[in-house]
Symmetry: C2
Subunit: 334 residues, 2 copies
Amino acid sequence: MKKLINEPDGVVDEMLEGMVAAHDLRRLEETEVVVREDAPVEGKVGIVSGGGSGHEPTHAGYIGDGMLDGAAAGAVFTSPTADQLSEMILACDGGEGVFCVVKNYEGDVMNFETAVEMAGMESDVEVETVVVDDDVAVEDSLYTSGRRGVCGTIFVHKVAGAAAHRGDDLEEVKRLAEKTNDRVGTMGMALTSCVTPEKGEPTFDLGEDEIELGIGIHGEPGTERTDTMSADEITDHLTEAVLEDLDLEAGAEVATIVNGMGGTPLMELYVVNRRLQELLGEAGIETWNARVGDYMTSLDMEGCSITLLELDDELKELLAYPVETPGLTVTGGE
Amino acid sequence: MKKLINEPDGVVDEMLEGMVAAHDLRRLEETEVVVREDAPVEGKVGIVSGGGSGHEPTHAGYIGDGMLDGAAAGAVFTSPTADQLSEMILACDGGEGVFCVVKNYEGDVMNFETAVEMAGMESDVEVETVVVDDDVAVEDSLYTSGRRGVCGTIFVHKVAGAAAHRGDDLEEVKRLAEKTNDRVGTMGMALTSCVTPEKGEPTFDLGEDEIELGIGIHGEPGTERTDTMSADEITDHLTEAVLEDLDLEAGAEVATIVNGMGGTPLMELYVVNRRLQELLGEAGIETWNARVGDYMTSLDMEGCSITLLELDDELKELLAYPVETPGLTVTGGE
């Protein structure tokens, strides 16, 4: 399978160079960590995240005033090392502590834990963590105990970043991030497997008349393989799974994301959004804000995921808080 | 080839429904035209565009305060009808005239011409047009006489939209749009062909060890088929072609777009941007702003294009002018 890359083992390094060349980012020397150009920001809780590469714009694409201060990129689908995570934490400490947004994968959780310990040995930085587990498809997977962290992570980035920006302390940032995680659910599906640069071929085989439901974002197969369905049938299936998990009832207000997995045209994502909003309307659930695009990808996989976040005034205020990042921009007034 | 759609002949209609459900857009009844919710905006030149579907977020994704007032969507890779273009022009006339941004394809150019005549029979609206032809790959193609209009159109949208928003009159908007078109060049390539919903299979065949250079955005093959090359070699080739066409010299200042064709992961586009910025640096050309993402796509095609716009103070002011659209947001301060 052809890719727009040079050597597979240089792809993360070269991608980061390309990001730094495009955006207001600074790369920590001899690491795959990027931070705000002006990090650390004094007098503000630092918000950081990280994980394997291949999910772009996640996470470095969400660095900006009002969202993340730093992001660590591991090899493709591989956790960053604890060393680098620790360096990131220290680089983003502006005196008010650092908050880590971690997707629930064993490697990420373990390496962040070690990193927090390492950072604690070098400085008196206070660190708190949220482990995001929004994927409603599976309780345990190849990479996780408990549910996986997927596209709902974007909402956690947004909420935590806005809270820190307006001056909330570490404890309050943590409360809001956990609240967001408690109220968000995601379910994904794939028309095709992704192809990693290293392997150069699909990580699972899927026939021309088959699709996978309940996929993750690391090329792991889904929870169910079915015959090809229409976009509406697929949307029904995904939406139902999330609604059931969140136990949403008529009158609820939500923010939604129809997320592309990396190889899906925007045209198709809008077709899915059409049906999603129709379903929510039928269920008496009001959409406060709808996003459609590539937020949490899996390399070149064709497919999508649907994320719903149940809102209240507190969360709406933080989601509407202005921010400008390569991956998500809010100018206010939403 | 699998797609996230329902019936192929409903895809444009359902996509537009999905867009209207997500963004502040209004669809003109019984058309495939979408406009700003508050169109027409009194006292401002209306800026409109349109063309075949399959290039999303082009064009409707660029509707917003400071960019487009309306966009017409034809069937996939097919010009909108003159009827609908005329309706769009009338719906976006706020008393100061309407400016049409047209990509150089025979169908689009002809239908916009007819639409302007039709609108003129129904009202005294003043209409001016720019025909964008930024593709440096070919002089004539399957669909055009002269060069094709591709990703450089985004810059024309931005410049014309900002000029109209700050109060420039129709003549001045036209001057600035033409100036932008004169200074912009694009060259694209593909790893794979796109697959139209209707046909369901690639519009041209490309071997596993072949790529196409100089492709358009309608599934037409490129100007040259070569063996697979590395991302750097591809970037060298595309950049050289654009630099030569624009005759850029050391000291010039540019805005750049590394544009994904719809099926290309962001990771790979950043790898291309890394090399592009390196090449510009070596040539003594300064990048004022670099964009990386899907701006002018060709359904699910894997590949990219590189666009360079030679800047001056006048164009920089208009590019930096704040705007918020689904496809492009500028908060100022660039």
